[in-house]
Amino acid sequence: MTSSPTPAATASGIVKIPRVLIVDAVVPLNTQLPSILTIPQDADFEWWFLAAFRTNAAMKVLITEAATQRAMVFSGSQQSSQTVFNGVFIDNLAGLVANNGAFPIAVPYVMPASRSYQHAFTDSSGAQNTVQLAYHGFALLQVSSS
C-alpha cells in the first residue's frame, strides 16, 4: 500500500504548501511607484487572501498580469477632470490580518509559476508612504508518484 506524501496531497500529485508572497514599496510623496511580484518558479501559486499594510490611506493601487496584460483593476467610468485613473484606494482592497481585515479572493485564482504581476502604487498623502501587499495562498507543488 502506498501512502500519500502529506495529507494535503491530491490524486493528481499536487501538494499544497502554505505560502505568502510579498510586494513591498516605499512610495515617495505624491508620486507613482511601480513594483513587481514574480511568482516563484518552483510552483504555481493559488491565491486565497490579500492583506495590505500602509502608513497612509491616501494610496491607490493598480494590478496587472504582465504576460497577458490583463488588468485586475478597471475604471470604466468617465471620471471628473481632476480624477486620474490610478486604481483603487488601498483600504478598499484589503486590510491587515491582525485586524481581521484580509480580503478573501472568494474564487481562488491560480497564478502560474514565474509569471509577473505589475503593481503601481500612487501616493496622494503628501508624505512618504510605506506599503506592503501580502498574497496569502498555497504553492501547488508537483510531486512525483514514484
Binding site: S77, G95, A106
Partner: protein, 186 residues
C-alpha cells in the same frame, strides 16, 4: 392498542437523533458545528473550513471595477455609466468617502442592459459596501453552498451608478464592484 388507551394508530416516525460528535477516529472528536469561522465573519467569509469556496465558480480572474468622484460637490448628485468587463460576475461592493459625518453618500446601482435595479432605491453606501476589510459577499451566507453571484450580460454590459453626496462639503468618493471575470460554473 386496547384497554384504557384509544387506538390512535401507529406512532409517527421519529427522526433519528443526530449525534453532536461523529464517531471517534484516531481518538479525535469532531465538532460538527465547527465548520465555519466565527459568527462575526458571516458577511465576509466565503470559504468553508477544510473545504473550498461557497462561490460556485471555478477559474476566472479577480477584478475590481470602480468609479470615482474627486471631488463631488456638497449635496450634489453624480452619475456615471460603467462599461463592465465581459463575463463579469458580481461578488461584492466596496466604497469609501473622504468625508463621512452624515453618512457619506447614497448610491443606486442599475443594470442598464436588463433594466434591473440592483438596489431598491438609493442606499447609504455603508449599508451596501464595506472596504477591503469588511466586504459583504453577495448571496454567500453562512454555511450556504448555494451562493449565487450575479452575472451581468456576457458582453457589453453596462452599470449605471448614481451617487448623492450627503455631506455639506466636497467629498472624494470611490465606489465599485469586486467580482470574477470568466471562469466556469462549478
Amino acid at each position: 392498542m386496547s384497554g384504557w388507551f384509544p387506538n390512535i394508530g401507529a406512532a409517527p416516525a421519529v427522526p433519528r437523533l443526530r449525534p453532536l460528535t461523529l464517531a471517534r477516529l484516531v481518538n479525535t472528536l469532531i465538532n460538527q458545528f465547527a465548520v465555519r469561522g466565527t459568527i462575526a465573519n458571516n458577511q465576509k467569509d466565503p470559504y468553508l473550513l477544510g473545504d473550498g469556496t461557497v462561490i460556485p465558480i471555478k477559474g476566472g480572474i479577480p477584478i475590481w471595477v470602480y468609479c470615482e468622484f474627486n471631488t463631488l460637490g456638497s449635496l450634489k448628485t453624480g452619475r456615471v455609466r460603467i462599461p463592465m468587463p465581459d463575463s463579469f460576475r458580481l461578488l461584492s461592493y466596496f466604497g469609501s468617502a473622504s468625508v463621512n459625518a452624515k453618512g457619506g453618500f447614497r448610491v443606486n446601482v442599475y443594470d442598464v442592459n436588463r433594466r434591473l435595479r440592483l438596489t431598491d432605491r438609493p442606499i447609504n453606501f455603508q449599508n451596501l459596501a464595506g472596504t477591503g476589510s469588511s466586504p459583504l459577499f453577495q448571496g454567500g451566507m453562512t454555511g450556504s453552498r448555494q451562493a449565487a453571484p450575479y452575472a451581468f450580460q456576457e458582453t457589453n454590459a453596462q452599470v449605471l451608478i448614481t451617487l448623492v453626496n450627503l455631506e455639506p462639503n466636497p467629498n472624494i468618493i470611490q465606489f465599485g464592484m469586486y467580482g470574477v471575470q470568466g471562469g466556469k460554473s462549478s
